[in-house]
Point group: C2
Chain length 565, copies 2
């Protein structure tokens, strides 16, 4: 008889225990129908990942645990679930429960990532050994949870004291016979992640000498994205990869790679020994759309409003919004001021028209004039940035008025380059419940706009928007390059510092001018107070502002001053 295991690549909703349980039951039915004798879910599927401080509520943990243990599924399922502390003075575990016949706890996670976007030492007690699920659907399985498998090939930023994969290998040497090892994952996306994850799976399979099956969560949860792409790797280096960004059931035939099937949208990738996965060019586009779409779906938001300036950022944000909630549920508002050029209105209208979203024009000139009169004493002296910000804040107010009146969510249209430099207005263009482009450098914004045009098969974002010099249009003839280095340079300097951790010296060694580099890094450091108040942005880079970026605020002293004392 074929040895068939189903991996449930799913999109749970954090906190929705009942809904997540129902989803598991539905997917398990599909799995059974396809001949699987057991199913493997993702990490913490019953609570959704990451449950964050819900885990501090004892009764939440108990409810998850009870629901998992009592799940009436047609074939056995390994369910990722918070499990209660082992004693009164301990934390809960990040566990795996065997549901269906002879329900019981199988194991708890050993390696608790506490870096970057991860906080698991805050919530969980670490276990000391991996689990084994014996005679489950006729198989014997090693059971690990996400990070547990990452130490083995050195893919963690720092070493843990133990290596659960090696522990299972050692058990094998001692005579424990396993058909496969499974891994319940909630492994977040970033643009370079899939091949690292593939390496983790292949390394484990090779050492274990049997197939390694990794079921990964899919979908967006606030700032975290999960791309799915569940993996099965065989000891010889062959592997299969489920599609990214869609839910489905991966039916794994342990003995015959060509008999594996994917029940869901998209195609299974079969990878030869050492073959890497080719991520589609427009993968980032899917990531950004899913982030916003899931944020809306999970928060009960059905419509979106944004300011359409005629610039590239708001044009792309409109494309993302239309893809996320449907063009008919998106409203773009053009809010020209005396500093807006005619092309700004024309380009905004063009984007709206091409996308088929609702379009409104609300000029701000009257409001702007009245505000200048009311604030004459304030604005006539002092820093000119006050007058510039006034326009951005009037626009923020209008967008928010539309949002509040209609129960829509405003989105902020800023990108990572701007946010990193503070080249944006708090409560102005930074206003909104979500910032879909908040982790995209400016040049990525351009690339993604072109990718959208490709996908739509027409120039939704017109040539004028794509080619004119970026401008905030808050003062006469203003250009971004008056205040910032050209974006290709700015992006690269930011990326070298944020993603690669280089300091000013390291960056100048890559060929950039020291004065420019210092200016960029100083603006980055001194604008953290703005980022503290930015809306959540989907994380697509190795390091995003927000959960994965914890700078001190009242500490804007450049500590390197010390070095040059």
């Amino acid at each position: 008889m074929a040895r068939r295991v189903a991996l449930l690549q799913s999109c749970p909703i954090v906190g929705d225990i009942g809904g997540n349980a129902e989803m598991i039951l539905q997917m398990t039915k599909i799995a059974k129908k396809q001949g699987a004798s057991l199913a493997v879910s993702t990490e913490l599927i019953i609570s959704g990942y990451p449950p964050r401080d819900l885990l501090l509520q004892d009764d939440f943990v108990v409810a998850c645990n009870d629901k998992s243990l009592s799940l009436d599924c047609e074939i056995p399922v390994l369910i990722g679930s918070p499990v209660p502390p082992l004693d009164e003075r301990s934390l809960p575990g990040n566990g795996v429960i065997r549901a269906g016949e002879s329900p019981r706890e199988v194991t708890r996670k050993q390696l608790l990532p506490t870096y970057d976007v991860f906080d698991e030492a805050r919530y969980f007690e670490a276990d000391e050994r991996p689990g084994i699920a014996r005679t489950i659907g006729g198989l014997n399985l090693g059971v690990t949870i996400c990070e547990d498998a990452w130490q083995h090939c050195g893919a963690t930023p720092n070493d843990y004291d133990s290596d659960p994969i090696s522990q299972i290998v050692e058990w094998g040497r001692q005579g424990v016979s396993l058909d496969a090892t499974v891994n319940l994952s909630a492994s977040p996306y970033h643009s370079d992640k899939v091949n690292i994850r593939l390496q983790v799976a292949r390394s484990a399979a090779k050492s274990l000498g049997h197939p390694f099956l990794l079921a990964n969560q899919v979908g967006g949860n606030d700032d975290l994205l999960f791309d799915g792409r569940s993996i099965v790797a065989w000891p010889n280096g062959q592997a299969i990869l489920a599609p990214g960004w869609s839910e489905g059931v991966l039916i794994v035939d342990l003995d015959e790679i060509n008999s594996c099937t994917w029940i869901g949208e998209g195609e299974l990738q079969i990878l030869d020994v050492n073959q890497e996965s080719e991520v589609p060019d427009d993968d980032l586009l899917d990531a950004i759309v899913i982030g916003l779409a899931d944020y809306c779906k999970k928060s009960g938001i059905s419509s979106i409003v944004l300011g359409l300036s005629g610039g590239i950022d708001s044009a792309l944000a409109a494309c993302v919004a239309a893809s996320a909630v449907g063009a008919e549920n998106v409203t773009g508002i053009s809010m020209p001021s005396r500093h807006s050029s005619q092309h700004s209105i024309d380009d905004a209208r063009s984007t709206a028209h091409n996308l088929g979203i609702n379009f409104e024009i609300i000029p701000i000139e009257e409001l702007h004039k009245t505000a200048e009169t009311s604030l004459d004493e304030i604005l006539s002296v002092g820093h000119p940035v006050a007058a510039e910000n006034l326009q951005a804040r009037l626009r923020g107010m209008i967008v928010m008025a539309f949002a509040n009146a209609n129960g829509a969510m405003a989105i902020a249209t800023g990108n990572k380059s701007e946010l990193g430099q503070g080249y944006c207005t708090l409560y102005g263009d930074m206003a909104g419940g979500y910032a879909p482009l908040g982790d995209l450098y400016k040049m990525e914004v351009y690339a993604l706009a072109k990718a959208f045009n490709n996908r739509f098969g027409k120039d939704v974002v017109n040539n004028s928007t794509l080619t004119k010099p970026p401008s905030a249009e808050l003062a006469p003839d203003q250009k971004d390059e008056d205040s910032l280095p050209p974006y290709p340079i700015l992006d690269d300097i930011l990326r070298l510092h944020i993603e690669e951790g280089l300091d000013a010296t390291g960056i100048t060694n890559r060929g950039y001018d020291l004065v420019t580099v210092n200016e960029v890094l100083t603006r980055l450091a001194s604008n953290e107070h703005k980022r503290w108040q930015m809306p959540p942005a989907p994380r697509v880079s190795k390091r995003a502002f927000g959960q994965g970026w914890r700078q001190p605020l009242a500490a804007r002293h450049d500590w390197r001053n010390f070095l040059s004392e």
Copy 2:
């Protein structure tokens, strides 16, 4: 010869390695002059606490370590400093360096708190034993770092695997003779903290059989406050306590409690066996003022602007601001609308006049009318909250215009009760760089306003402000109680849930109506998206929004729905 140790109760600036080193040198001079043979600093004094993601920069850690090792101090000092990882695949340590004669690393922190506001497992590798500093200034000392001493009496939320105090006790049994054990702390404030800290010190001294000396950081760093109150406890239960909220040097005579002295402002408290510390009634007032004052000082902000509505929150915020940066550096702006009553303007003027801050009146009627005209189509249909928020956002815009023009910082005036219920306007009254009252329940705001009046010896906050029913004045005859339970009830429900962790059942068991409780908890859960964008607020309660409160956003499903399926 007297055995004299100096504890440096200091206020380092995060990232300012050179400045912090200079501060240590100055304090050490005082210590020497007072006859101390060595000095003990606070945790991570050289980097400031908490350095957060600065610790991810390798060269920052190296710079701290090098600076500490090379410090040319007149008597030996134990310096809290980040120390480099022990190997390439490890994290740095939270260490203690002996500076002065024979400089070297003494120990690294064993217990790394990773709960509430603490993130230390993110940054540090845990050590396995406490340190000993031998023949330092003629003494032999056990050396521990903050949390290291908290396991011993069970004052941590969960148990660690080891107890550094017991380890030192065991060394004593094995013949290691110590004069005292010291503890370098950065132990944050909350309103019930000091007597817990005292209990930690007494418990350690009793078990150790020698004096236990705890040097604590003082001052504000963003949302974290440190109250100082360094402690020395003797094995018999006697203790001394340095003053709260001020820097200074505590000269400890290990053999004679009455010879201990405090060089700085305020008075040393000498506590008899089992005597608790009495925290002054207006302690919370000092906490809030220090939080704002240090945020400004450390960020280079010298002036503050806020909206003065005539209500209690902005009146108290004005008192705090005037105390923090000086009345002459504070501007209060009254921004009456058609819904503002005359007493609102009068009361705002009264507060400003009594405090001696600058006062401006900028009516918003013209702007409001223009905005209504511009937004007629939007406001004439849809939810009335849009029109209400418009007024709050116009005011936020005006305050921010003043701030931007004058290089001042706007402060948000909201309190914890409002923020917890979402009874506030994003980008309106929530605008500002800091929210001094953000962790105070509404009834605490009243109490603190009275405490200010007591301190000033006159009714700075007038009787009308203190006694009129709270109103947002965004609609005709609007009262907070139209939308919220009376504040004494609301505050208590929020406190029982947030501080004590009770669920709806637990709260109704305390005598509250289930419908009210459910409404309050639902509003709390469903407004997390606003709190994600709130400015930092000084943490004075056991659990504050912000760093110590990590709710999921797109997860506003009340998971308890599951229980009532």
